[in-house]
């Protein structure tokens, strides 16, 4: 009798475990089809933390560079946005823990979205195409290991690097982008001494400064989620500047720039005459059309004498890192920014198949 009982229990255990394909009871079993998503569904992954498991910030308090000194290392990266004369910085040490900051400068309402797994920071307008204002949150989903924010107005999902709503009522809409720059803290402080910076008083208790992904940032073998394709022409975690044009891209490497002086690379992309300004030691690269907002084409040279300026022209105008003339006869005019941002090569290589690499 005892053996029968053991047998029954063992058999019951084994057979009861054949719970086939596996829907939790919260799963209605209706898997979304590719038609409902504009990206390949099988390449969308659950990132693990869950929807809003990584809490986005909304209009967090900002202070100045000095207030952040105790928290920032000289090599820590920071993303900057400029609206009018206001320059505001968003340190990676904050973004690593929140990924999205819904913010406002003057009348400009935007969301700075940052994906720690692809190293990409992109700012979107928070006014949707229908005129409604929204905020963005972290959906917990990833496509090609890249952030998928969702908008809280319609619950639609947006692919950060495709710069497009890929699921939901707003599917197919493109957000309006803001120009962003990225550099290291020491460069930022010298270029923008008067800047505002989002600080650690976010309302969340986090260990800012402790990178949450271990060795991910510099271990080229370490992927947390699969990518496709995995383009091996450059090291996966190399930070590059990518210029985007629809589904094509061209990337620029720090190794193309000097470590001592600021350098301007003149190039062509998709029929546009462009310049890429950079310095490997100061860790910045930015890209502009070779054209000012007033339609004129300035003759530019690098500026290495004053930390606040990266270029000057033959008319005596001086340009900051955002390409804005901040001193000179044409003050207020600006170089037309290219659709560009920094990110790990792994992301540029997987989102933009056969992306062109400058200098290769």
């Amino acid at each position: 009798m005892k053996f029968k009982m053991i047998l029954i229990l063992v058999l019951f255990s084994f057979f009861s475990c054949k719970d086939s394909n596996d829907s939790g009871f919260n799963n209605n079993g209706n898997n979304p089809t590719d038609n409902e998503w504009l990206i390949p569904w099988n390449e969308v992954k659950d990132g693990g933390p869950g929807k809003d498991g990584i809490p986005s910030l909304s209009t967090p308090p900002h202070s100045n560079n000095e207030a952040m000194e105790d928290y920032m290392e000289e090599d820590d990266l920071i993303i900057g946005i400029k609206v009018g004369n206001v320059v505001r910085g968003y340190p990676h040490i904050i973004l690593d823990w929140h990924e999205i900051i819904n913010d406002q400068i003057g009348d400009a309402k935007f969301a700075l979205t940052y994906c720690p797994l692809t190293g990409t920071g992109i700012a979107w307008d928070r006014i949707l195409n229908n005129g409604e204002e929204t905020t963005f949150g972290v959906s917990g989903l990833l496509y090609n290991t890249n952030l998928i924010p969702y908008d809280r107005k319609t619950d639609s999902n947006w692919s950060q690097m495709r710069n497009e709503c890929v699921n939901g009522n707003l599917s197919g809409e493109d957000p309006v982008q803001y120009q962003v720059i990225e550099t290291k803290w020491s460069t930022w402080k010298s270029m923008f001494p008067e800047a505002e910076v989002v600080g650690v008083n976010t309302g969340f208790d986090r260990n800012y400064g402790n990178y949450p992904y271990g060795t991910y940032i510099n271990n080229n073998d370490y992927l947390i989620f699969p990518i496709s394709p995995d383009d091996d022409r450059l090291p996966r975690k190399e930070r590059v500047l990518g210029i985007r044009d629809n589904r094509d891209a061209k990337v620029y490497r720090f190794s193309s720039f000097s470590t001592s002086a600021i350098q301007i690379i003149s190039d062509q992309y998709k029929g546009d005459e462009i310049i890429v300004v950079g310095n490997a030691d100061k860790e910045f690269m930015v890209a502009f059309k070779k054209e000012l907002s007033d339609g004129s084409v300035p003759q530019l040279i690098p500026s290495n004498s004053n930390a606040r300026f990266v270029m000057q022209d033959s008319n005596g105008n001086k340009y900051d890192l955002f390409g804005t003339i901040v001193e000179g006869p044409n003050e207020g005019e600006y170089l037309i920014p290219e659709d560009s941002y920094m990110g790990y090569w792994l992301a540029w290589g997987s989102f933009y198949i056969d992306a062109e690499i400058y200098g290769n």
């Binding site: 394909n21 939790g24 693990g48 809280r152 986090r206």
Partner: protein, 328 residues
Amino acid sequence: MKIVIHIILLLFFMGSRTQLLAQTCCSGGVPLSGNVGFSPSNKGAFQIQIDYDDNVLKTLKSGSDKLDDDARIRHTRSIIYQVGYGITDKLSIDLFHSFIGQERKIQQSGNTDILRTTGFGDLALLLKYKWLSFGEIEHTSITSALGTKFPIGSTTKKSDLGLTINADLQPGSGSFDGIFWTQFIHQLNARPSLNISSTIIYNLKGKNKDYLDAFEYKFGNEFQFHIGVSDRILIGKMMNDPSIQFRYRRASRDQQEKIEIESTGGDWLFLHLDHRLWFNQKIAFHAGIDVPLYGRVNGTQLSPSYRLNAGFYFLFTKENKDLNNFNL
């Protein structure tokens, strides 16, 4: 007839709990492996234990610091069942299995996000050898076990969006694990009803080679050391076994493609209180609670907040157990 009733009871527990939430290798280290292993039994003795286990993780920690953030709760409810059979007076076999339900609840920015998974967990089989029985050397018993955990639990549970859920919320681990277990029990001469016991459990975790259809994933190896005392006292007409135990648990970091994952693993010390009530010589009910006394996590993680556990024990043997012998 009795056996039929017990099986019906077991089926009832399992069948009626389809709404239960989950428990996993990661969060459930103490709930699962903390239950492994019956006390030594004799030849022909057949033991069954059915437990309901409720494990709550809502304490967000960075290292050993508690963070002021209660937006996230992990709730794991399990039916854990264990059967043991004494092949000889020295050798016995234990089978350990569970039905697991997990819930992850996030309340943030006015939204509530709930993810639930349910399913049968992995199956553990332990072969136990009693090195020393009570009576051979005073009142001491030493038993060791070697076992394997078979990956029969699902690792492909999907969210309501149809996406495969992360490893730590899956009922199964997808890996064959090695289990080492050893237990020492000593009855005090001055008061034979008073036991001092200690248990060592080591889980050598294997690899899930098909994680996300792309990676090799390995949960961190786990070491546990339990030490405590229990007594047997008569209250009214029933025997009662109150016990207190300290449980130390150390989990290494998980690895993906042999690279350690930052916010996994840590050290914990729990206080475990339990009370067992004997209805007769062969049936008992127990209820217990685990509360963390200390916790240090790697990186930033949810850490166990408390755990409740209750269940029935059944002994089937030709001989009547003499509860005054104090040899559980």
